[in-house]
Subunit: 205 residues, 2 copies
DNA sequence: ACCATCGTGGTACGTTCGTATCACGAAGAA
DNA sequence: TTCTTCGTGATACGAACGTACCACGATGGT
Protein backbone atom coordinates (compact mmCIF):
# COMPACT_ATOMS: atom_id res chain seq x y z
CA UNK A 1 0.00 0.00 0.00
CA UNK A 2 2.63 2.60 0.86
CA UNK A 3 3.54 3.84 -2.59
CA UNK A 4 5.43 6.95 -3.40
CA UNK A 5 3.57 9.88 -1.95
CA UNK A 6 3.34 13.51 -3.00
CA UNK A 7 5.03 15.28 -0.15
CA UNK A 8 3.72 18.71 -0.97
CA UNK A 9 0.14 17.51 -1.00
CA UNK A 10 0.60 15.69 2.29
CA UNK A 11 2.18 18.71 3.90
CA UNK A 12 -0.68 20.88 2.73
CA UNK A 13 -3.24 18.49 4.18
CA UNK A 14 -1.49 18.49 7.52
CA UNK A 15 -1.20 22.27 7.44
CA UNK A 16 -4.92 22.48 6.80
CA UNK A 17 -5.52 20.31 9.84
CA UNK A 18 -3.31 22.61 11.85
CA UNK A 19 -5.32 25.65 10.83
CA UNK A 20 -8.59 23.85 11.57
CA UNK A 21 -7.71 22.83 15.07
CA UNK A 22 -6.04 26.17 15.77
CA UNK A 23 -9.20 27.94 14.72
CA UNK A 24 -11.21 25.78 17.07
CA UNK A 25 -9.09 25.77 20.21
CA UNK A 26 -6.59 28.55 19.67
CA UNK A 27 -3.10 28.29 18.26
CA UNK A 28 -1.51 28.29 21.70
CA UNK A 29 -3.32 25.06 22.58
CA UNK A 30 -2.28 23.12 19.50
CA UNK A 31 0.23 20.33 19.80
CA UNK A 32 1.63 17.99 17.23
CA UNK A 33 -0.59 15.20 18.50
CA UNK A 34 -3.66 17.35 17.97
CA UNK A 35 -2.64 18.13 14.43
CA UNK A 36 -2.00 14.46 13.77
CA UNK A 37 -5.39 13.45 15.14
CA UNK A 38 -7.16 16.18 13.18
CA UNK A 39 -5.44 15.13 9.99
CA UNK A 40 -6.21 11.49 10.72
CA UNK A 41 -2.59 10.42 10.63
CA UNK A 42 -0.12 9.25 13.23
CA UNK A 43 2.10 11.57 15.22
CA UNK A 44 5.06 10.04 13.49
CA UNK A 45 3.85 11.23 10.10
CA UNK A 46 3.56 14.82 11.20
CA UNK A 47 7.11 14.48 12.41
CA UNK A 48 8.08 12.90 9.14
CA UNK A 49 6.77 15.63 6.88
CA UNK A 50 7.69 18.48 9.19
CA UNK A 51 10.73 17.55 11.21
CA UNK A 52 10.08 20.12 13.86
CA UNK A 53 7.11 22.01 15.22
CA UNK A 54 8.57 25.34 14.24
CA UNK A 55 8.66 24.24 10.61
CA UNK A 56 5.07 23.11 10.87
CA UNK A 57 4.05 26.51 12.19
CA UNK A 58 5.98 28.27 9.48
CA UNK A 59 4.37 26.20 6.76
CA UNK A 60 0.98 26.68 8.40
CA UNK A 61 1.44 30.42 8.21
CA UNK A 62 2.40 30.23 4.55
CA UNK A 63 -0.63 28.11 3.84
CA UNK A 64 -2.86 30.54 5.69
CA UNK A 65 -1.56 33.46 3.69
CA UNK A 66 -2.19 31.60 0.45
CA UNK A 67 -5.70 30.73 1.45
CA UNK A 68 -6.34 34.35 2.31
CA UNK A 69 -5.22 35.35 -1.15
CA UNK A 70 -7.57 32.83 -2.71
CA UNK A 71 -10.35 34.01 -0.48
CA UNK A 72 -9.95 37.59 -1.61
CA UNK A 73 -9.72 36.53 -5.23
CA UNK A 74 -12.89 34.46 -4.94
CA UNK A 75 -14.73 37.30 -3.32
CA UNK A 76 -13.55 39.63 -6.03
CA UNK A 77 -14.84 37.28 -8.70
CA UNK A 78 -18.24 37.29 -7.03
CA UNK A 79 -18.81 40.95 -7.74
CA UNK A 80 -19.12 40.33 -11.46
CA UNK A 81 -17.13 40.58 -14.61
CA UNK A 82 -16.26 44.22 -14.80
CA UNK A 83 -16.72 45.58 -11.35
CA UNK A 84 -16.09 49.19 -10.58
CA UNK A 85 -13.18 50.01 -8.32
CA UNK A 86 -15.52 50.53 -5.41
CA UNK A 87 -17.09 47.11 -5.68
CA UNK A 88 -13.62 45.63 -5.83
CA UNK A 89 -12.52 47.54 -2.76
CA UNK A 90 -15.64 46.48 -0.93
CA UNK A 91 -14.98 42.86 -1.78
CA UNK A 92 -11.42 43.16 -0.59
CA UNK A 93 -12.32 44.75 2.71
CA UNK A 94 -15.30 42.53 3.46
CA UNK A 95 -13.27 39.43 2.71
CA UNK A 96 -10.95 40.30 5.56
CA UNK A 97 -13.78 40.64 8.05
CA UNK A 98 -14.53 37.61 10.24
CA UNK A 99 -18.12 37.07 9.22
CA UNK A 100 -18.63 33.32 8.91
CA UNK A 101 -17.06 30.60 10.98
CA UNK A 102 -14.28 29.96 8.52
CA UNK A 103 -13.11 33.55 8.42
CA UNK A 104 -13.40 33.78 12.18
CA UNK A 105 -10.95 30.93 12.52
CA UNK A 106 -8.87 32.61 9.90
CA UNK A 107 -8.66 35.89 11.78
CA UNK A 108 -7.99 34.16 15.05
CA UNK A 109 -5.10 32.12 13.75
CA UNK A 110 -3.67 35.02 11.84
CA UNK A 111 -3.74 37.22 14.92
CA UNK A 112 -2.15 34.43 16.93
CA UNK A 113 0.67 34.28 14.44
CA UNK A 114 1.06 38.04 14.63
CA UNK A 115 1.40 37.84 18.39
CA UNK A 116 3.95 35.06 18.11
CA UNK A 117 5.87 37.00 15.49
CA UNK A 118 6.53 39.82 17.94
CA UNK A 119 8.74 37.60 20.07
CA UNK A 120 9.74 34.88 17.60
CA UNK A 121 12.32 36.05 15.04
CA UNK A 122 11.71 33.12 12.68
CA UNK A 123 8.07 34.03 12.31
CA UNK A 124 8.77 37.73 12.13
CA UNK A 125 10.93 37.16 9.06
CA UNK A 126 8.07 35.49 7.15
CA UNK A 127 6.28 37.17 4.25
CA UNK A 128 3.30 37.66 6.48
CA UNK A 129 4.97 40.92 7.32
CA UNK A 130 5.20 41.94 3.69
CA UNK A 131 1.75 40.88 2.58
CA UNK A 132 -0.26 43.67 4.19
CA UNK A 133 2.04 46.21 2.62
CA UNK A 134 1.19 44.77 -0.75
CA UNK A 135 -2.50 44.91 0.12
CA UNK A 136 -2.14 48.59 0.91
CA UNK A 137 -0.56 49.25 -2.46
CA UNK A 138 -3.27 47.32 -4.26
CA UNK A 139 -5.94 49.27 -2.45
CA UNK A 140 -4.21 52.55 -3.13
CA UNK A 141 -3.99 51.57 -6.80
CA UNK A 142 -7.71 50.91 -6.94
CA UNK A 143 -8.42 54.23 -5.29
CA UNK A 144 -6.17 56.05 -7.72
CA UNK A 145 -7.93 54.29 -10.56
CA UNK A 146 -11.24 55.49 -9.16
CA UNK A 147 -9.79 58.94 -8.85
CA UNK A 148 -8.87 59.00 -12.52
CA UNK A 149 -12.41 57.90 -13.36
CA UNK A 150 -13.70 60.91 -11.42
CA UNK A 151 -15.33 58.70 -8.82
CA UNK A 152 -13.07 60.11 -6.14
CA UNK A 153 -12.22 63.76 -5.57
CA UNK A 154 -8.75 64.74 -6.82
CA UNK A 155 -7.68 66.09 -3.43
CA UNK A 156 -7.92 62.72 -1.69
CA UNK A 157 -4.65 61.18 -0.53
CA UNK A 158 -5.18 57.66 -1.81
CA UNK A 159 -2.23 56.04 -0.04
CA UNK A 160 -3.30 57.44 3.27
CA UNK A 161 -6.92 56.45 2.77
CA UNK A 162 -5.83 52.98 1.79
CA UNK A 163 -3.86 52.67 5.00
CA UNK A 164 -6.83 53.98 6.95
CA UNK A 165 -9.26 51.51 5.44
CA UNK A 166 -6.92 48.61 6.05
CA UNK A 167 -6.23 49.61 9.62
CA UNK A 168 -9.94 50.08 10.25
CA UNK A 169 -10.70 46.74 8.69
CA UNK A 170 -8.16 45.05 10.92
CA UNK A 171 -9.37 46.82 14.04
CA UNK A 172 -13.00 46.12 13.29
CA UNK A 173 -12.11 42.53 12.51
CA UNK A 174 -10.63 42.06 15.95
CA UNK A 175 -13.66 43.66 17.56
CA UNK A 176 -15.94 41.30 15.69
CA UNK A 177 -13.73 38.38 16.64
CA UNK A 178 -14.06 38.99 20.36
CA UNK A 179 -17.81 39.49 19.97
CA UNK A 180 -17.53 43.08 20.95
CA UNK A 181 -19.05 44.31 17.73
CA UNK A 182 -21.47 42.75 15.26
CA UNK A 183 -20.30 42.00 11.72
CA UNK A 184 -23.17 44.17 10.50
CA UNK A 185 -21.98 47.27 12.35
CA UNK A 186 -18.43 46.69 11.20
CA UNK A 187 -19.64 46.62 7.63
CA UNK A 188 -21.62 49.79 8.29
CA UNK A 189 -18.51 51.62 9.48
CA UNK A 190 -16.56 50.59 6.39
CA UNK A 191 -19.45 51.51 4.09
CA UNK A 192 -19.64 54.92 5.66
CA UNK A 193 -16.05 55.65 4.84
CA UNK A 194 -16.37 54.31 1.34
CA UNK A 195 -19.33 56.64 0.88
CA UNK A 196 -17.20 59.47 2.16
CA UNK A 197 -14.32 58.71 -0.17
CA UNK A 198 -16.56 57.98 -3.14
CA UNK A 199 -18.43 61.20 -2.56
CA UNK A 200 -21.46 61.61 -4.82
CA UNK A 201 -21.62 57.94 -5.63
CA UNK A 202 -24.36 56.33 -3.55
CA UNK A 203 -25.21 52.68 -3.45
CA UNK A 204 -27.20 50.98 -0.78
CA UNK A 205 -30.61 49.81 -1.92
CA UNK B 1 10.52 38.27 59.64
CA UNK B 2 7.28 36.93 58.21
CA UNK B 3 4.80 39.44 59.56
CA UNK B 4 1.27 39.97 58.38
CA UNK B 5 1.38 40.93 54.72
CA UNK B 6 -0.92 43.02 52.56
CA UNK B 7 -2.28 40.48 50.15
CA UNK B 8 -3.59 42.98 47.62
CA UNK B 9 -0.23 44.70 47.38
CA UNK B 10 1.57 41.39 46.96
CA UNK B 11 -0.83 40.24 44.29
CA UNK B 12 -0.37 43.49 42.41
CA UNK B 13 3.40 43.13 42.52
CA UNK B 14 3.20 39.62 41.16
CA UNK B 15 0.77 40.71 38.46
CA UNK B 16 3.21 43.44 37.48
CA UNK B 17 5.91 40.81 37.14
CA UNK B 18 3.59 38.76 34.97
CA UNK B 19 2.98 41.68 32.64
CA UNK B 20 6.69 42.46 32.48
CA UNK B 21 7.79 39.00 31.50
CA UNK B 22 4.83 38.57 29.15
CA UNK B 23 5.79 41.79 27.42
CA UNK B 24 9.32 40.52 27.01
CA UNK B 25 8.79 36.95 25.90
CA UNK B 26 5.13 36.76 24.94
CA UNK B 27 2.23 35.70 27.10
CA UNK B 28 2.19 32.22 25.62
CA UNK B 29 5.68 31.55 26.94
CA UNK B 30 5.03 32.64 30.51
CA UNK B 31 4.88 30.04 33.24
CA UNK B 32 4.37 30.39 36.94
CA UNK B 33 8.04 29.83 37.53
CA UNK B 34 8.92 32.71 35.24
CA UNK B 35 6.56 35.00 37.05
CA UNK B 36 7.99 33.93 40.39
CA UNK B 37 11.55 34.56 39.23
CA UNK B 38 10.63 37.94 37.74
CA UNK B 39 8.91 38.97 40.95
CA UNK B 40 11.85 37.69 42.99
CA UNK B 41 9.77 35.29 45.02
CA UNK B 42 9.45 31.54 45.20
CA UNK B 43 7.09 29.53 43.05
CA UNK B 44 5.18 28.62 46.16
CA UNK B 45 4.30 32.23 46.84
CA UNK B 46 2.79 32.75 43.42
CA UNK B 47 0.73 29.67 44.13
CA UNK B 48 -0.13 31.02 47.53
CA UNK B 49 -1.48 34.35 46.39
CA UNK B 50 -3.07 33.01 43.22
CA UNK B 51 -4.13 29.45 43.75
CA UNK B 52 -4.27 28.67 40.07
CA UNK B 53 -2.72 29.99 36.92
CA UNK B 54 -6.06 30.95 35.48
CA UNK B 55 -6.68 33.26 38.42
CA UNK B 56 -3.27 34.78 37.94
CA UNK B 57 -4.05 35.48 34.29
CA UNK B 58 -7.40 36.95 35.18
CA UNK B 59 -5.89 39.24 37.76
CA UNK B 60 -3.13 40.16 35.36
CA UNK B 61 -5.69 41.22 32.81
CA UNK B 62 -7.49 43.34 35.39
CA UNK B 63 -4.23 44.95 36.38
CA UNK B 64 -3.40 45.65 32.78
CA UNK B 65 -6.74 47.32 32.18
CA UNK B 66 -6.24 49.50 35.24
CA UNK B 67 -2.79 50.53 34.13
CA UNK B 68 -4.16 51.41 30.74
CA UNK B 69 -6.72 53.67 32.37
CA UNK B 70 -4.01 55.39 34.37
CA UNK B 71 -1.91 55.73 31.27
CA UNK B 72 -4.68 57.47 29.39
CA UNK B 73 -5.44 59.68 32.37
CA UNK B 74 -1.79 60.67 32.70
CA UNK B 75 -1.56 61.44 29.00
CA UNK B 76 -4.72 63.53 29.26
CA UNK B 77 -3.28 65.52 32.15
CA UNK B 78 -0.19 66.26 30.04
CA UNK B 79 -2.15 68.28 27.52
CA UNK B 80 -2.79 71.02 30.03
CA UNK B 81 -5.42 72.34 32.35
CA UNK B 82 -8.29 73.07 30.03
CA UNK B 83 -7.65 71.15 26.87
CA UNK B 84 -9.98 71.39 23.96
CA UNK B 85 -11.87 68.26 22.97
CA UNK B 86 -9.47 67.64 20.12
CA UNK B 87 -6.39 67.68 22.31
CA UNK B 88 -8.13 65.30 24.66
CA UNK B 89 -9.04 62.95 21.83
CA UNK B 90 -5.50 63.09 20.51
CA UNK B 91 -4.14 62.20 23.92
CA UNK B 92 -6.56 59.30 24.18
CA UNK B 93 -5.72 57.89 20.77
CA UNK B 94 -1.98 58.38 21.01
CA UNK B 95 -1.89 56.77 24.43
CA UNK B 96 -3.17 53.56 22.90
CA UNK B 97 -0.45 53.46 20.25
CA UNK B 98 2.60 51.31 20.99
CA UNK B 99 5.23 54.02 20.78
CA UNK B 100 7.70 53.37 23.57
CA UNK B 101 8.85 50.05 24.92
CA UNK B 102 6.35 50.04 27.75
CA UNK B 103 3.34 50.55 25.55
CA UNK B 104 4.66 47.98 23.09
CA UNK B 105 4.62 45.39 25.82
CA UNK B 106 1.24 46.67 26.78
CA UNK B 107 -0.22 46.18 23.33
CA UNK B 108 1.37 42.79 22.94
CA UNK B 109 0.01 41.44 26.19
CA UNK B 110 -3.38 42.96 25.58
CA UNK B 111 -3.60 41.40 22.16
CA UNK B 112 -2.48 38.07 23.60
CA UNK B 113 -5.30 38.25 26.08
CA UNK B 114 -7.72 39.05 23.28
CA UNK B 115 -6.62 35.97 21.38
CA UNK B 116 -6.98 33.82 24.47
CA UNK B 117 -10.40 35.28 25.16
CA UNK B 118 -11.73 33.95 21.88
CA UNK B 119 -11.36 30.37 23.04
CA UNK B 120 -11.33 30.77 26.83
CA UNK B 121 -14.78 31.53 28.26
CA UNK B 122 -13.42 32.73 31.60
CA UNK B 123 -11.35 35.42 29.94
CA UNK B 124 -14.11 36.32 27.52
CA UNK B 125 -16.40 37.18 30.43
CA UNK B 126 -13.91 39.72 31.82
CA UNK B 127 -14.51 43.48 31.70
CA UNK B 128 -11.87 43.72 29.04
CA UNK B 129 -14.74 43.12 26.70
CA UNK B 130 -16.71 46.02 28.14
CA UNK B 131 -13.89 48.53 28.39
CA UNK B 132 -13.51 49.38 24.72
CA UNK B 133 -17.23 49.99 24.50
CA UNK B 134 -16.87 52.53 27.26
CA UNK B 135 -13.95 54.09 25.42
CA UNK B 136 -16.10 54.47 22.35
CA UNK B 137 -18.78 56.25 24.33
CA UNK B 138 -16.24 58.57 25.91
CA UNK B 139 -14.81 59.41 22.52
CA UNK B 140 -18.26 59.94 21.06
CA UNK B 141 -19.06 62.21 23.99
CA UNK B 142 -15.96 64.30 23.33
CA UNK B 143 -16.86 64.55 19.67
CA UNK B 144 -20.39 65.62 20.49
CA UNK B 145 -18.98 68.21 22.86
CA UNK B 146 -16.80 69.50 20.05
CA UNK B 147 -19.79 69.50 17.78
CA UNK B 148 -21.71 71.70 20.17
CA UNK B 149 -18.75 74.07 20.31
CA UNK B 150 -18.90 74.35 16.52
CA UNK B 151 -15.53 72.67 16.09
CA UNK B 152 -17.14 69.79 14.26
CA UNK B 153 -19.72 70.01 11.49
CA UNK B 154 -23.26 69.23 12.63
CA UNK B 155 -23.73 66.51 10.03
CA UNK B 156 -21.01 64.27 11.44
CA UNK B 157 -22.14 61.00 12.99
CA UNK B 158 -20.11 61.15 16.17
CA UNK B 159 -20.74 57.59 17.34
CA UNK B 160 -19.66 56.20 14.01
CA UNK B 161 -16.59 58.38 13.83
CA UNK B 162 -15.68 57.37 17.35
CA UNK B 163 -15.89 53.73 16.38
CA UNK B 164 -13.82 54.43 13.28
CA UNK B 165 -11.07 56.20 15.17
CA UNK B 166 -10.89 53.46 17.76
CA UNK B 167 -10.80 50.71 15.17
CA UNK B 168 -8.14 52.57 13.24
CA UNK B 169 -6.10 53.12 16.36
CA UNK B 170 -6.27 49.43 17.18
CA UNK B 171 -5.39 48.38 13.66
CA UNK B 172 -2.54 50.84 13.40
CA UNK B 173 -1.35 49.77 16.82
CA UNK B 174 -1.01 46.19 15.68
CA UNK B 175 0.82 47.28 12.54
CA UNK B 176 3.26 49.25 14.62
CA UNK B 177 3.66 46.33 16.99
CA UNK B 178 4.79 43.94 14.26
CA UNK B 179 7.14 46.59 12.87
CA UNK B 180 5.15 46.83 9.72
CA UNK B 181 4.47 50.53 10.17
CA UNK B 182 6.36 53.28 11.95
CA UNK B 183 4.76 54.99 14.93
CA UNK B 184 5.20 58.26 13.09
CA UNK B 185 3.12 57.20 10.11
CA UNK B 186 0.44 55.76 12.39
CA UNK B 187 0.21 59.11 14.10
CA UNK B 188 0.01 60.79 10.70
CA UNK B 189 -2.97 58.67 9.70
CA UNK B 190 -4.81 59.50 12.88
CA UNK B 191 -3.98 63.18 12.60
CA UNK B 192 -5.33 63.20 9.08
CA UNK B 193 -8.69 61.95 10.20
CA UNK B 194 -8.80 64.33 13.13
CA UNK B 195 -8.14 67.15 10.68
CA UNK B 196 -10.97 65.84 8.55
CA UNK B 197 -13.40 65.66 11.45
CA UNK B 198 -12.29 68.95 12.96
CA UNK B 199 -12.57 70.62 9.61
CA UNK B 200 -11.24 74.17 9.60
CA UNK B 201 -9.35 73.75 12.84
CA UNK B 202 -5.66 73.24 12.16
CA UNK B 203 -2.99 72.60 14.72
CA UNK B 204 0.40 71.14 14.15
CA UNK B 205 3.31 73.46 14.77
C1' DA C 1 16.21 -11.69 -7.03
C1' DC C 2 18.32 -8.64 -4.12
C1' DC C 3 18.88 -4.53 -1.67
C1' DA C 4 18.56 0.24 -0.54
C1' DT C 5 15.21 3.48 0.39
C1' DC C 6 10.62 5.28 1.52
C1' DG C 7 6.50 5.63 4.25
C1' DT C 8 4.64 4.34 8.45
C1' DG C 9 3.61 2.69 13.18
C1' DG C 10 4.64 2.25 17.91
C1' DT C 11 6.82 3.73 21.72
C1' DA C 12 10.22 5.54 24.76
C1' DC C 13 12.91 9.63 26.64
C1' DG C 14 13.84 13.91 28.75
C1' DT C 15 11.86 18.23 29.90
C1' DT C 16 8.69 21.39 31.53
C1' DC C 17 4.43 22.63 33.25
C1' DG C 18 0.71 23.37 36.79
C1' DT C 19 -0.41 21.67 41.00
C1' DA C 20 -0.15 19.27 45.51
C1' DT C 21 2.26 17.94 49.73
C1' DC C 22 5.12 18.29 53.66
C1' DA C 23 7.59 21.00 56.83
C1' DC C 24 8.67 24.88 59.75
C1' DG C 25 9.44 29.56 61.74
C1' DA C 26 7.09 33.56 63.29
C1' DA C 27 3.24 36.16 65.15
C1' DG C 28 -1.16 37.06 67.31
C1' DA C 29 -4.92 34.97 70.49
C1' DA C 30 -6.13 32.52 74.67
C1' DT D 1 2.79 30.08 77.82
C1' DT D 2 0.43 27.41 74.61
C1' DC D 3 -1.86 27.02 70.40
C1' DT D 4 -3.65 28.21 66.15
C1' DT D 5 -3.11 30.50 62.04
C1' DC D 6 -0.18 32.75 58.49
C1' DG D 7 3.64 33.16 55.33
C1' DT D 8 7.19 30.72 53.19
C1' DG D 9 10.42 27.20 51.40
C1' DA D 10 11.59 22.93 49.24
C1' DT D 11 10.29 19.29 46.76
C1' DA D 12 7.48 15.74 44.69
C1' DC D 13 3.93 14.20 41.29
C1' DG D 14 1.34 13.26 37.20
C1' DA D 15 0.41 14.88 32.78
C1' DA D 16 1.57 16.58 28.38
C1' DC D 17 4.76 18.16 25.24
C1' DG D 18 8.35 17.91 21.41
C1' DT D 19 11.55 14.83 19.86
C1' DA D 20 14.23 10.55 19.03
C1' DC D 21 14.59 5.77 18.28
C1' DC D 22 13.51 1.27 16.52
C1' DA D 23 11.15 -1.91 13.56
C1' DC D 24 9.01 -3.39 9.37
C1' DG D 25 6.33 -3.85 5.09
C1' DA D 26 6.24 -2.19 0.53
C1' DT D 27 8.46 -0.46 -3.55
C1' DG D 28 11.64 0.60 -7.24
C1' DG D 29 16.22 0.19 -9.21
C1' DT D 30 19.67 -3.03 -10.96
Amino acid sequence: MPKRVDHAERRTEIAKALVRVAGRRGLHAVGMRDVAAEAGVSLRLVQYYFETKEKLLLYGLQHLAERFGERVAARSRTVGDNPGPRAMIEALLMASLPTDEESRAFHLVYTSYAVLAVTDPALAAQPFIRNPDAAEDVLAGLLRQAQEADLVAPGVDVQLEAASLLAMSAGLGTSVLVNQRSPRSAVAVLEHHLNRIFQGSDQDP
